[in-house]
């Protein structure tokens, strides 16, 4: 068996484009899912039973579905249900954002809940408004605890963007597999794809470990 690695350099431009789309997908998803998660967490803690119940149902639903199913379902159901045509990229973005928002919502909720109640009560006793107590006492501390978890979610998300390849979004996995079927250089292309994901993902995983050591709570 002969390996021909020139196929990788010959398609370096395509692979770079795919990689750029993978990064873009992850960034846009996070840009939607952080506000999404905050809104869901605030609804959950709002005190209104209806809003809190809705938020909890949303979170439970998307935490308990395989992401690839959400992606396929979005691909087939969104256009039929809303009578709108979305591009595969938008469809993938919506599916990822729904999934990550649900996880972020739990992260923010746990972060806010991890600040002892006495602190909020003390802030109120000092004459702060509820909003002030939230902004000046609870959130600054919660942020530190939330940050490492968000970073882990980011690393998962970065890897999960590979799943939108199944609805033919031209990101890295899709691009590599397309070149594979055009050139029949299966081993070379798939190894190149794995190597690119590894090169991008490895430092991120290490960074998360570092964030966890720096900010993680040790009892």
């Amino acid at each position: 068996m002969k390996l021909d690695w020139s196929v990788v350099t010959a398609h370096a431009g395509d692979l770079a484009q795919g990689t750029a789309l993978t990064v873009l997908m992850a960034v846009l998803t996070m840009a939607l899912a952080v506000p999404g998660g905050i809104i869901l967490a605030l609804l959950r803690l709002s005190g209104s039973r209806v809003l809190s119940g809705l938020s909890a149902s949303f979170t439970d639903l998307f935490r308990n579905l395989p992401l690839i199913l959400v992606i396929y379902a979005a691909y087939y159901i969104l256009p039929l249900a809303l009578d709108l045509q979305f591009s595969p990229f938008t469809t993938g973005l919506i599916a990822l954002a729904l999934n990550v928002s649900a996880y972020n919502s739990e992260t923010f909720r746990a972060g806010i809940a991890s600040i002892r109640r006495g602190q909020g009560e003390a802030a109120l006793a000092l004459g702060m408004s509820r909003w002030q107590a939230m902004r000046e006492v609870i959130l600054p501390q919660a942020t530190r605890r939330v940050l490492p978890v968000l970073a882990s979610t980011w690393v998962s998300l970065f890897k999960d963007t590979s799943l939108v390849s199944v609805i033919s979004v031209g990101e890295l996995a899709y691009t590599a597999m397309r070149i594979r079927s055009q050139t029949f250089r299966v081993l070379e292309m798939l190894t190149a794809m794995a190597a690119i994901y590894w090169a991008l993902g490895y430092p991120q995983a290490k960074l998360v470990d570092w964030l966890n050591r720096k900010y993680g709570i040790t009892e």
């Binding site: 992401l67 379902a73 597999m177």
Partner: protein, 221 residues
Amino acid sequence: MDIDISPILESWRFLLSGLEITLLLSLLTVFCSLLLGTAVGLARCYGPAWLRVPLVFYIDSMRAVPVLVVLVWTYFALPIGTGLSLPPFWAALAALSLHIAAYVAEIIRAGVSSVRPGQTRAALALGMSRAQLIREIILPQAIVRMLPAFGSILSITIKDTAIATVIAVPEYMNHSQTLAGQSFRPIEVFVLAAIVYFIILFPITRGVDMLYRRVAHLGRS
């Protein structure tokens, strides 16, 4: 929008056979990754120093690469590189186990290192051997702290088996796609798939959440 569930009613056996494969693949994967992951995790914590570098490299690499990539590589590229050609089910089992074992190894490490070093010193000062120390002091406390995380591994595994559809493992997701394509009823089929996965996964996640609350105080030292 009209709803027609007759294709589902006609093909329920086909879907059920997919569900069986999903559950079988999940259970085998959990079993294999627990074995492999525990071995790797313990070897990383207590093994010889030279072994630590390759093990950490393996764990971090698996954490860095998407499971889709591991699946596709094992199924399509491995046979070319080694001549070892696995049928889809076994390729999926190998790839998923290899991937998830890395997470299990991390759980083991986190559990073991969560036991305060003072306890190790105390046990050694009392004249315990290293094996005794691990067996009688560290593991009983560490295992309690690892339990909820192992529960999460179960639900992660079931969700990840759905990705095995890309290498044509005839599991539930794969059969749903086939039925959606043949019947032109994707909404009904995928909504049913969502319900089925939710019914399986929700009790597990709930159980894990409860376990977290239940055992949290037991782990304190």
